[in-house]
Structure formats: structure tokens, C-alpha cells
């Protein structure tokens, strides 16, 4: 499973290595590290965000080992959505029921519309929307796009997809 983990490190040399050691021991795959060195918590520690992939049973062990080493673990959360995409929709986006368009994606359970920008320049003019969809994985993202494509065809909306996506 993929989890995000917020930890706090003391501002002394060697702390990052200390934090990564339990991950290596539990064969976790480190996806990203965001080291906010310019920030300080009220405890004078440095906040670090990790995203890692590990067996579900390893997550608790990693957390315990980190805490044993003196690394404070502030939050551990499952990261459900691994894929994200921006899609532009052009047409009578609002009048054809934008809520319904969003619902079609949201009700899948594996993908969600998480952001929406909308422009309606005039009653008789075409509206434009840019939506961001998060999905659990590549396959789920493709399924969500297939649903959106079918809805767009029904509502006569032009769907503009990123170049690296199979349309």
C-alpha cells in the first residue's frame, strides 16, 4: 500500500539517514521526500513529508522504529489516489448539468473530481471548464475518462485530454 507520512527531524546532521534506515530495513519503497528545511515547528524540529510504498503489516513497524530512533511521527495516512489528470471541457457545460457530470465520476468510488475552474462568458457563448480528476491507479483513471467521454458525447461537450493519455 502507498502511505504518506509526516515526520519531524531534529535540526542536526545525520537525522535524515536515521529516518530512512527503518524504511530500508522494512524494504519500503520511498516515492517522494519533501524536506521543508526552511520551516521550523514550534518544537524547533524540521517537518518532512514522505510518501512510501510498503506491505500493510510493515507500516506499523516502520512507525515504531522511527519513534524508537527519536523521530517524531506526526501523521500516517493511506494515500488512496495515485493518479491525477487535468481535463478541459468546452460546450454548454453548465446548462447540460455540471453536477451530473461530476457525479458520474464521483460515484465510481475509484475516482473523484477534486478541482473545477469554470468560465461562462455569456448566455449564448460556449462555457469552458477545467477539471482535475484523481484516481486510485492508471486503470481506474482510464475507466473514469471513458465515463467522462461517454457523458461528454451525450452532452455534446468537447473533451480536451493531455497529450500523454490514450484518448
Amino acid at each position: 500500500m502507498r502511505v504518506s507520512m509526516d515526520i519531524e527531524l531534529k535540526d542536526v546532521p545525520g537525522q535524515m539517514l536515521l529516518a530512512l534506515q527503518p524504511l530500508s530495513e522494512c524494504k519500503a519503497n520511498l516515492i517522494t521526500v519533501l524536506h521543508h528545511h526552511q520551516k521550523r515547528t514550534p518544537r524547533k524540529t524540521v517537518p518532512v513529508q514522505l510518501v512510501l510504498e510498503a506491505k500493510p503489516e510493515s507500516i506499523g513497524i516502520i512507525k515504531a522504529k522511527l519513534e524508537e530512533s527519536g523521530v517524531r511521527v506526526v501523521r500516517v495516512g493511506e494515500q488512496r489516489f495515485r493518479e491525477t489528470i487535468n481535463v478541459v471541457l468546452i460546450g454548454h457545460v453548465v446548462h447540460t448539468g455540471i453536477q451530473d457530470t461530476i457525479d458520474e465520476i464521483d460515484k465510481t468510488g475509484f475516482a473523484e473530481v477534486v478541482d473545477l475552474s469554470l468560465s461562462m462568458p455569456g448566455i449564448n457563448l460556449l462555457s469552458s471548464a477545467l477539471i482535475r480528476i484523481d484516481a486510485e491507479g492508471k486503470e481506474e483513471l482510464q475507466k473514469a475518462l471513458d465515463i467522462l467521454k461517454s457523458v461528454s458525447t451525450k452532452k455534446d461537450l468537447l473533451m480536451v485530454l493531455p497529450i500523454d493519455i490514450q484518448a
Partner: protein
């Protein structure tokens, strides 16, 4: 020195561009052992024929003054059948419904054992396989680099320079007019209609822009790439086509705020042939502006190769025709 006797069929902007390029490159061609002798120039009203070689500068001047080069009332096909030469440079306008005179000219050229170099997409979009087989049966050479991307090398790049590589797919911007319209709509935050009017005024768009803005021109180019590079046997009807007429300045602006531009992208692989507006990251190699064309060739061994260049213009298109000519005759 090898003398290549040829005719130019179609003396519009591209045909005239070819004449100018041949005049400009006369000494260069001599330096590589080629003398190109144009024995006939044909336009829609008739022809100038001289087996000893027509005066190209005079043809250009008469075309400008009279609107035609016609001194004799004969058609392209009649000239091909009656005048002795080895190469037909076919630059008549594209007609994707019937193939137009270009299709008849090409068949006549092959039937009389002549080689053909063309910039005309229509015949290749409709009857690629038939043309290729007729050329093969006649032992004629058939080259058409100028049909896709103007000066930008793509067919010869994939088939010759990248020989040995399996081409996986090709994606790109193959229509300069659409690229200009989308670029300017974003720059000026202006509507499609306003920028189309500007494009017409500047001569970038045709009086009837349908062919460009509905994605038909890009689709025809994809058909040529699919047949010539991927070895498929497809026509225009096999392409999924969406144009740019619905694109709004607001959509372009929202996409730009998230680091993307919208471009009309043609995409061809063994599985799919499609033309559609797509979101392209601003720093992506395909995010070129203005009237430029660009194509990324995805290959098995060499990875991704991207070429960009001017997709239209008489001299630019003539450059592709000249490269085909040198490719056929320069090696002999």
C-alpha cells in the same frame, strides 16, 4: 553530369516555388552532378512546352503578368503522354474527394514509366496503395515528402534516416494554420472567430478554412504517414477527427494557468489514427507556437526524435521536393 528532364504540373504557389528553387539551386545541383531540365510547365489553363528546356524565369514572369503560363492548350495528362521526360513534379491543388487532376496525372506518369515527386495530398489520401503498386509495376520512383509538414522532414526521416528502427508512433502538429490560430487566441485572449479573420487577412488561412480548422488536412497527412511509414492501408475515413472550432480563449487561458497549451495534435500508430485538440505541457517539445509544424517520432531503438519546421510556404515546400529529387537522382 546527369541530366534530369522533368515537368512541373500545377503552377500555383508551390509550383512557382519549385521553379524558383531550381533557379536558385542550379549551380549547387551542377556541383553534385545534376542538371535539371524542365521541359514543360502546366497550369489549369494550358502549358509551356520545350523539349530543349523552358525558361523558368520567363514562366514565372508570365504567370505573374497573365495569371497563366499557357502557350499551348493541352492538359497535364496529354503533356505527360506526348512529351519525352523522366520526372513529373506534381504540385496541383489537393482534392481529397476525387483526387482531382493530380490523381490522373500521377497514373499517367506511371503508365508512361515516369517518376513522380508530389506535394499533393489528395491522391495519396484516396489511392495510396493503388498508386504505389502502379509505380512499382512501372519501375517508377514515387516520392512525396512535401505532402506532410512542408520543409520538415518526416517520411524520409522515418523510412531512411531511422532505417532499422521500428516506428511505434508519431505525434505532432501538422497544420500551421491551426497552430497559428490557437497560439494567437491565447496571446490575445481573443475568440476563434476574431483570430480566424486575422489569419485570413494575413493569408495564413484559406478563404474556406474548413479543411484546416476541422482537422481534415491533419487527418490526410496522418493517412499518408500511416500508409507510407506504418505500412497500413487506410484512407481518410479511418481517422477519428476533431477540429479546433469549439476551442475558447477561456479554455486556453485556464489550461495555460495550469502549465499547458492546447494544440491540434495528429497521432498515428498501428492501433489508432486520431486528430484532436490536446493539452500539451508548456515545456513539451511539441509545444511550438506560430505557424510551425512539429512531430515526435517514437522509435524502438532511437527513442524519441522530434523535428520542427515550417509546414507551409512555396520555398519551404519546394525544399522537400528538391530533397526528393536529389534523393532519387543524386546517387546515380
Amino acid at each position: 553530369m546527369k541530366t534530369v528532364c522533368c515537368s512541373i504540373l500545377g503552377f500555383g504557389a508551390i509550383g512557382q516555388g519549385v521553379a524558383q528553387a531550381l533557379l536558385m539551386k542550379k549551380e549547387y545541383l551542377k556541383s553534385i552532378g545534376l542538371e535539371v531540365k524542365v521541359v514543360a510547365v502546366v497550369d489549369s489553363k494550358g502549358a509551356t512546352v520545350n523539349p530543349q528546356g523552358v525558361d523558368l524565369a520567363d514562366c514565372l514572369s508570365r504567370k505573374k503578368k497573365n495569371g497563366t503560363v499557357a502557350l499551348e492548350n493541352i492538359t497535364g495528362v496529354e503533356m505527360i503522354r506526348s512529351v519525352n521526360h523522366e520526372l513529373v513534379i506534381e504540385t496541383t491543388p489537393t482534392d481529397i474527394k476525387t483526387g482531382g487532376p493530380g490523381l490522373q496525372n500521377m497514373f499517367a506518369a506511371f503508365e508512361t514509366g515516369k517518376d513522380v515527386i508530389t506535394s499533393n495530398k489528395g491522391p495519396l489520401t484516396l489511392k495510396y496503395r493503388e498508386l504505389l503498386e502502379t509505380a512499382k509495376a512501372a519501375g517508377s520512383k514515387f516520392r512525396f515528402e512535401a505532402t506532410v509538414g512542408g520543409s520538415m522532414p518526416i517520411i524520409n526521416l522515418a523510412n531512411e534516416v531511422l532505417a532499422g528502427n521500428r516506428i511505434i508512433s508519431i505525434k505532432g502538429i501538422l497544420n500551421g494554420t491551426c497552430n497559428y490560430i490557437l497560439t494567437r487566441m491565447l496571446e490575445e485572449r481573443a475568440s476563434y472567430t476574431d483570430i480566424l479573420a486575422e489569419s485570413l487577412e494575413l493569408g495564413i488561412a484559406e478563404t474556406d478554412p474548413t479543411y484546416d480548422v476541422e482537422g481534415i488536412d491533419t487527418a490526410c497527412k496522418l493517412v499518408i504517414l500511416a500508409n507510407a511509414i506504418f505500412g497500413l492501408d487506410v484512407t481518410y475515413k479511418d481517422v477519428e477527427v476533431t477540429g479546433i472550432t469549439k476551442i475558447t480563449p477561456e479554455a486556453l487561458e485556464m489550461a495555460y494557468e495550469r502549465g499547458h497549451v492546447i494544440k491540434l495534435i495528429g497521432e498515428v500508430s498501428r492501433e489508432k489514427i486520431q486528430v484532436a485538440p490536446r493539452l500539451v505541457p508548456i515545456k513539451h517539445p511539441l509545444a511550438v507556437g506560430g505557424t510551425l509544424n512539429v512531430a515526435s517520432v517514437y522509435t524502438e531503438l532511437a527513442g524519441e526524435i522530434t523535428v520542427t519546421g515550417k509546414g507551409a510556404g512555396p520555398i519551404e515546400t519546394a525544399s522537400a521536393i528538391l530533397s526528393d529529387l536529389i534523393s532519387i537522382y543524386g546517387k546515380n
